[in-house]
């Protein structure tokens, strides 16, 4: 409802406060984008096309959701590409070793992959917190370690997962959308639950909103940070599982492109890079914006490489919009 109201008021921006604008701008951008592409090419609005968008977006949505928690804490996690690769490859090895079909004990490979994700995130967090290395550097380095590890594990090979039950993530459709979209939806709800209903979620906002204050309130900030990276790692693993489910192959390259996509999506969705503001719904909108642009450009027949440029501009616009420049004197 509120969206429609804002959209109606679009002609009278003056009457709307800056905060309201910032809050609803991402959704508005999404709606305008959809309208724009639909006007040029009506087939954009078909269920088939939306299913295509959502299939492509689901793995990225999980990765972006994970990194959202870290960004809310005011840190950044750039290890997603490595983590996704390692999780995907570990899953594939474990799955094939245990029987190669979900109908056997091989289903244990699913929680195993999530454990691997959690472990990588945990180590990542420890390195950042205990060794006091800036989060972007610690996580970036961990990401490279992950990519290298995945390469060592596979020796550069691709591992095919041909189990029909597992591939039903993509092949089985309900109401026109494949199962993986619903799986992503469920994990998004779990993320929302963590964000709003758990002490951990509250702590993420407290640390991002004011670390000094969090300390002065007796919170164990180091613990919160490490847990934040761990939770992010689990969501990266879910993203990896969906990515493998989508193409049926696990390899080192499974993790490619997730860094730019997910961080772009989080920022475009309106989560502030310095922490404390935003959440998983913002990330959903951000991911959709990114993938709608990608899909829409193809649908209306623009070359794919234009989309990177458009996304870059969008990131800058999003940050301009969400930054109250009066309150910031120096930017490093």
């Amino acid at each position: 409802m509120a969206t429609i109201q804002t959209a109606d008021k679009a002609g009278t921006w003056v009457g709307i406060g800056r905060e309201t604008l910032v809050k609803w701008a991402p959704l508005l951008v999404l709606i305008v984008l959809c309208g724009f592409f639909a006007a040029i090419e009506p087939r954009f609005l078909s269920t088939r096309n939306f299913a295509r968008i959502l299939i492509a977006a689901s793995p990225a949505l999980m990765v972006a959701t994970g990194v959202t928690f870290v960004i809310i804490m005011g840190s950044i996690d750039l290890s997603m590409e490595g983590t996704v690769s390692v999780c995907a490859v570990s899953f594939a090895f474990c799955f094939l070793w245990l029987g190669g079909t979900l109908a056997s004990w091989a289903w244990l490979a699913l929680p195993f992959a999530m454990l691997v994700g959690a472990a990588l995130g945990f180590v990542n967090g420890l390195i950042h917190v205990k060794l006091k290395i800036p989060s972007f550097m610690a996580s970036l380095a961990m990401g490279f370690v992950g990519t290298g590890l995945a390469m060592v594990m596979t020796g550069g090979d691709r591992i095919r997962i041909e189990d029909e039950l597992f591939r039903s993530l993509l092949t089985e459709r309900v109401l026109g959308f494949p199962l993986m979209v619903y799986v992503a939806g469920v994990f998004l709800l779990i993320a929302w639950f963590i964000q709003t209903r758990t002490t951990l979620g509250r702590n993420f906002y407290a640390v991002g909103g004011g670390e000094d204050l969090a300390i002065a309130s007796g919170l164990n900030v180091s613990r919160v940070r490490v847990l934040g990276y761990t939770v992010a790692g689990v969501f990266f693993a879910v993203g990896a599982l969906l990515a493998v489910g989508r193409i049926g192959i696990a390899e080192t390259a499974t993790g490619n492109d997730f860094m730019f996509l997910s961080v772009t999506a989080v920022v475009v969705g309106g989560t502030a890079l310095w922490g404390g503001i935003g959440g998983v719904w913002n990330t959903l909108v951000g991911v959709l914006i990114v993938f709608v642009i990608g899909n829409g450009m193809v649908v209306i027949g623009l070359p794919g490489y234009v989309q990177d440029g458009v996304l870059g501009i969008l990131v800058i616009l999003a940050v301009i919009l969400s930054t109250d420049r009066k309150s910031i004197s120096f930017v490093k």
């Binding site: 209903r197 758990t198 002490t199 951990l200 509250r202 702590n203 906002y205 407290a206 909103g209 004011g210 000094d212 204050l213 969090a214 300390i215 002065a216 309130s217 007796g218 919170l219 164990n220 404390g276 503001i277």
Partner: protein
């Protein structure tokens, strides 16, 4: 030659300068004294151009001037030597001296370092500092850095025609005694080149150095004393002035404390570089006030109780149990609540709503297995909103949008609802209007009646005296004197100032 006429400056809720007249002649050294919050720093900021006066005029040699920023003030010969050292420590001495004015050494876009070093050496000679101008600043001692700052300001001499006025803000606070002597003799010599405005809380230094002393209180200049007629006692009287209003500080509600029990015990505690040999007991129902100037160690004592500083020697015990591994978490778990001075930074989380802020320190009590019971949180918040009459539309209101007084109430509610019984209040009434202050005073009395112990660092001396059962005066990290503050037997601000400076 430099003159302020009826300069007035208001901030929301504060009348910072009330029709201040001020003048300084060629080659004079003028002292400026006053309590914290008396308006000294606002006055200085007006002088060096960081603030623009709301009304009144600034004249130099009779000509009216108006500075939009410090750079314009510098162009008129007014320079500031900052209290916090304003040198960039990873640059060399000469780069610092000519920071922002490198253009004079630039030829075809390239800096001529030899010329800059030569010019820098010339400046350093003025302050009798014999160091290589290409030394990196972080390698210098504090005293040397202070002199470099002075040299930097003295570059104005070459840049502008006319007279120089140089502000020295607490220049001696980081210096040893001999270094102070050196600085003073240097300043006296430099009066041939410039006039000085000297701000310090060390009264004896101001008396020694200044030709004339302006005494400020509550935004007004209450006295101007000539050198020779100055008398420390008289000046201190003027600085603190007014009578304490008993009603205002809720003295009628001040009850004796329970001396049988001890909440916090400090036994000859020292924190290296902050304070030495501090001992006291805090009892239930007691307001213990730490009085001293900025940097006297009072904040460090608070931070030690809260586990943010680790004692180097001595023992801290909370409710009879020694504090071993001091962390804020352990302090909170033992019932210590901290109300910091920077409310916006450490008191409330902007962007989090009222109930989220209130339960921040005690989320464990409102969660089962990490899942929050938000309904109970809201009930708690509603209850305290009513009890403390916090003005907020509902519990969902972003705390950043509340007024200062209401934010402070939320912070107090956070600790009180969590069952804290040791409160550390650091300037709890700073920036609040009178009504909100009185609310805070009421709450302090109420907490005492509930058996809580309070360690207070007050905003003013009157507040400290009015509120406390016990007053400890600190100076340079040592307890100078302990005063009893029972109603009827309270010391006067003058008694305290005596031991503070």
């Amino acid at each position: 030659m430099y003159q302020l006429n009826k300069v007035d400056k208001k901030f929301p809720g504060v009348h910072a300068l009330k029709a201040v007249d001020f003048k300084i002649g060629r080659g004079e050294i003028v002292g400026l004294v006053g309590e914290n919050g008396a308006g000294k720093s606002t006055l200085m900021k007006v002088i060096y151009g960081a603030y623009q006066p709301d009304s009144g005029t600034v004249t130099i040699d009779g000509k009216a001037v108006r500075f939009q920023n410090p750079r314009q003030a510098m162009d008129h010969g007014i320079g500031m030597v900052f209290q916090e050292q304003s040198l960039i420590t990873n640059l060399t001495v000469m780069e610092n001296i000519f920071l922002g004015f490198e253009q004079q050494f630039v030829r075809f876009g390239v800096i001529n370092w030899t010329a800059m070093a030569k010019a820098a050496r010339h400046q350093l000679r003025k302050v009798k500092l014999d160091i290589d101008p290409s030394t990196v600043t972080s390698k210098l001692s504090f005293a040397q850095r202070q002199l470099v700052e002075l040299a930097k300001v003295l570059t104005l001499e070459e840049r502008i025609d006319g007279d120089l006025v140089i502000l020295l803000d607490e220049p001696t606070s980081v210096l040893a005694k001999e270094e102070v002597e050196l600085l003073f003799s240097l300043v006296r010599e430099l009066t041939s080149r410039a006039s000085f405005i000297f701000v310090s809380h060390r009264m004896d230094e101001v008396l020694e150095l200044s030709d004339r002393i302006y005494v400020m209180k509550d935004g007004e200049v209450v006295d101007v004393v000539e050198h020779g007629q100055a008398n420390i006692d008289a000046i201190q009287h003027k600085m603190v002035g007014r009578e304490v209003d008993k009603q205002y500080y809720r003295e009628q509600k001040q009850h004796p404390y329970d001396s049988g029990k001890t909440l916090v015990r400090f036994d000859r505690v020292s924190v290296a570089g902050k304070y030495r040999d501090v001992s006291f007991d805090l009892h239930p129902g007691e307001v213990l006030c730490l009085v001293g100037t900025e940097g006297s160690g009072r904040e460090a004592v608070l931070r030690t109780i809260f586990g943010l500083e680790r004692p180097s020697t001595g023992a801290v015990a909370i409710k009879g149990n020694p504090f071993h591994r001091a962390t804020a978490q352990e302090a909170v778990a033992r019932g210590v609540g901290y109300v910091p001075r920077e409310r916006k930074v450490e008191g409330i989380v902007n962007g989090m709503n009222v109930y989220e802020n209130m339960t921040l320190s005690q989320m464990g009590k409102y969660a089962s297995h990490g899942v929050l019971r938000i309904r109970e949180e809201k009930a708690l918040a509603e209850n305290w909103i009513k009890r403390l009459s916090i003005k907020t539309p509902d519990v969902y209101k972003d705390c950043g949008g509340l007024s200062g007084g209401n934010q402070q109430k939320v912070v107090l509610a956070k600790w009180r609802s969590g069952g804290s019984d040791i409160f550390l209040l650091d300037h709890p009434t700073r920036g609040l209007d009178i009504g909100a202050k009185e609310d805070v005073y009421d709450m302090i009395r109420e907490m005492c009646d509930d058996g809580a112990g309070i360690v207070l660092v007050a905003d003013t001396l009157e507040e400290a005296i009015g509120l406390s059962h016990t007053i400890l005066v600190l100076k340079d990290g040592e307890i100078q004197k302990r005063f009893d503050g029972s109603p009827g037997g309270k010391p006067s601000p003058f008694d305290l100032v005596h031991h503070m400076i």
